[in-house]
């Protein structure tokens, strides 16, 4: 007889195998090893299933109350429906049975309070995935002062990645900000800064080994802050994680101490018909301060698939008087004066094209 198939191995482990399979396994070292391996896997699965714990005391109480109040009667057999019979079960139990059920319910309720409610009051460290995400959202939205944020950004499909991003944003005036991205070589790739009081916007872009710096004065009205947009997107994704049915929450020891890891289960594809949908998201959140230490998400945004991951490098509130929002041109950079356009992208493109045209003439 040739060696056993995986299905036959499974049936042996499950004690459902044929006699022929058993005899072969007893004589075949290779199959016996496969059986041992499959037994270990099934044991791990059993541990995973059975670690779910005992019945909550509250469920015991609920069931007893339901039994005590369930209507019943000598009605015909119920066929698969959830309709209960009209005769009260309490009557069927008799006076002693009813008292016993009542006493057991009280005892179980007391047990719930002693073992479940009171420890929770004294131990607020047991948080749900949603509570962790909620606190993280609060941390995002309640930052004050001038915040410096440095993180690593990886975008699926983007050449030159991962990028190091520096944010500087005045939380009192979110239109006042500076964002710069750097490649793995440490060189500036893109940057934008905006000062709504001085009505000035500066952008830098690195193309073919050369950096173009475009200054635009008298901007009509500040465009939406890029850091604000990034934060809004992050908040949206976190809110979706809160709303997802099955996020998992685990804890780990990270370089910065204990961390919560909240993760949504992977689904095959995101719904591209909606503005934003997730196929997977994972957030690593500091247990002490609820700051997001790392974040990754994939799905569809504006009907395009996306996958990004972010790893926090530094986050701090800096002295507002010494915070430098400006983008300084370095020697060799091409500095251009642009005109206000409807958006930053048009401004920088128009300025570069104009500059190139003038140079050609």
């Amino acid at each position: 007889m040739s060696c056993l198939t995986d299905v036959e191995i499974q049936t042996i482990v499950d004690n459902e195998a044929s006699e022929a399979s058993r005899q072969h396994a007893a004589a075949c070292r290779s199959c016996q090893q496969r059986i041992d391996e499959r037994q270990r896997q099934m044991r791990a699965i059993a541990d995973a299933v059975n670690i779910s714990g005992d019945i909550p005391a509250a469920l015991d109480v609920r069931l007893r109350q339901s039994l005590a109040s369930a209507p019943g009667s000598a009605a015909p057999a119920v066929r698969g429906a959830t309709v209960l019979r009209p005769r009260p079960v309490r009557a069927a139990l008799g006076p002693h049975g009813a008292r016993w059920v009542y006493a057991a319910s009280i005892a179980a309720a007391v047990a719930v309070i002693v073992f479940a409610v009171l420890p929770r009051l004294g131990a607020p460290t047991r948080l749900s995935a949603s509570q962790v995400l909620e606190r993280s959202l609060q941390t995002l939205s309640t930052a004050t002062g001038v915040e410096y944020l440095e993180y690593e950004l990886t975008i699926d499909g983007a050449a030159d990645g991962p990028f190091r991003i520096e944010h500087l944003i005045d939380r009192a005036n979110p239109q006042h900000y500076r964002v710069a991205s750097y490649g793995v070589d440490g060189l500036l790739r893109t940057a934008i800064s905006q000062d709504p009081v001085a009505r000035r916007r500066t952008q830098a872009i690195h193309v073919d080994g050369r950096t173009y710096v475009v200054h635009v004065s008298d901007i009509r009205e500040p465009v939406l802050s890029l850091p604000q947009m990034a934060q809004a997107l992050l908040e949206s994704v976190i809110a979706m994680m809160q709303a997802t049915a099955d996020p998992t929450l685990t804890m780990q020891e990270g370089p910065a101490g204990r961390e919560y890891v909240v993760e949504t289960p992977r689904v095959a594809t995101a719904n591209a018909a909606v503005t934003l949908d997730l196929s997977h998201a994972r957030a690593v959140i500091g247990a002490d301060d609820f700051r997001i230490h790392a974040f990754e998400a994939s799905g569809a945004l504006l009907r395009q698939p996306f996958a990004v991951s972010v790893r926090l490098i530094r986050q701090e509130i800096v002295d507002s008087t010494s915070a430098n929002f400006a983008i300084e041109a370095a020697p060799g950079d091409i500095v251009l004066d642009g005109r206000p356009e409807s958006g930053p992208l048009e401004e920088v493109l128009t300025a570069i094209v104009r500059g190139a045209t003038q140079g050609a003439h």
Partner: protein
Amino acid sequence: MTTIANAWMTTLERADAPNVAAGKPADDVLRLFHEHGGAIYRFCRSTLRSESDAEDVVQDTFLKLLQHLESRGDRSNLRSWLFTVAANGCRDRGRWRSRWLPWRAEDDRRVAAPAQDQDDIRSARRALRALAPRDRVLLSLRASGLSYREIATATGIRENSVGRLLARAVDRWKKARKS
């Protein structure tokens, strides 16, 4: 030959054999709840991945047991009957559950896994959660000690197919654990 199936089966087999003698239905329900409620709850919890949903299904299952006993239903294999009803309850609940749920913090009872949970158990659970519902149900029923015949009854699949489907489910679980 020693298999882990024996270890799984012991508790429930002992509890279920001999089959339940007819007593007062409500008393029988409470007794069966104490004997099998834990296994049913763990099965539902593993299948539904939600404590509150699992509690609802367990409660419904034992209320249906009350109806079953009061209507003098078959008492020959109540363990299998309970798992069948629970599996159907889980499936029904899975049908209406949408992917996105309205969220209220006070209702959220999903809690962090205890820090002392071993990594291998954690990864095993994670892999289990990543499986398709049918694979999760099959593995959970097997882990709950049901025979192939009982699994077939509970899930509505042919008994001859149970071993093959279980083997495939384990393979997918292995892949999910590695990824």
